[in-house]
């Protein structure tokens, strides 16, 4: 790869059923680049959890994925309610998702911990009432 590649995705927040489409597309894009399956899986899971979070909590948002020679950086931006207590949100098992979301298989309080688990570094920049920006980096 001579030039950095950026993939942009709009995440529709209105429909839970379609959540994850961006992650599926990203996975296809990364496969075409010949990136190792192990890395692709980590990027895909991190992106997917992030996408689900944006749909559940923030009525959607957008994702940019930058691929360089050394790493893949996922940036997720939403205009949702923001995260009041990030340390609390990072605890496994903590969730503010509704029972309805739990009945759909999410809201176990594993989303953010999973995103951190699968990335080499993760930063959360959140302002209550304005939105959240999450940056995850996975080294190649």
């Amino acid at each position: 790869m001579n030039e950095d590649l950026i993939f942009h995705f709009d995440v529709d927040g209105s429909d839970f059923t379609s959540a994850g489409q961006a992650s599926v597309q990203l996975k296809k894009n990364l496969r075409q680049l010949g990136i190792s399956p192990d890395i692709i899986r980590r990027v895909s899971i991190a992106m997917y959890e992030g996408e689900i979070n944006m749909v559940i909590h923030a009525n959607g948002g957008e994702a940019d994925v930058a691929v360089t020679e050394t790493d893949i950086t996922i940036t997720l931006r939403d205009k949702g309610p923001g995260i009041k207590d990030i340390d609390l949100a990072m605890q496994e098992g903590f969730s503010t998702a509704t029972d309805n979301i739990r009945s759909l298989g999410f809201g176990a309080g594993m989303g953010l911990p999973n995103m951190k688990r699968y990335s080499d570094s993760m930063e959360i920049d959140s302002v209550v009432g304005e939105g959240t920006v999450i940056t995850m980096k996975i080294n190649l």
Partner: protein, 117 residues
Amino acid sequence: MKICQIKDLLGAKVICGEDMMDRHVYSACGSDMMSDVLAYVKDQSVLLTGLVNSQVIRTAEMMDMVCIVFVRSKMPSEEMIELAKDSGIALLATDKRLYEACGKLYEGGLRGNGVKK
């Protein structure tokens, strides 16, 4: 264990992926919570679940899983079947409950083998 053995052990019906019956699976997990599934990485594994929505298929795809078994006689929608076909995932359905279905596969030699990152 081959997917066809899973089918036999669970008396399961093949919904799609007839051509994948000879594929090997090396691990399995049973859960209705997709984020719990996403927390443990396994290779060529099978997911047993009573949850029926598109996110089950996408979760399996993200995890590079090769087979999903729906328990308690749950049946996926046409849309889900199409998603699974696109992703190369075999779908099975059994009338067994999650606990019993997992137990039968475990007894048959299929272990958990998940690695928490």
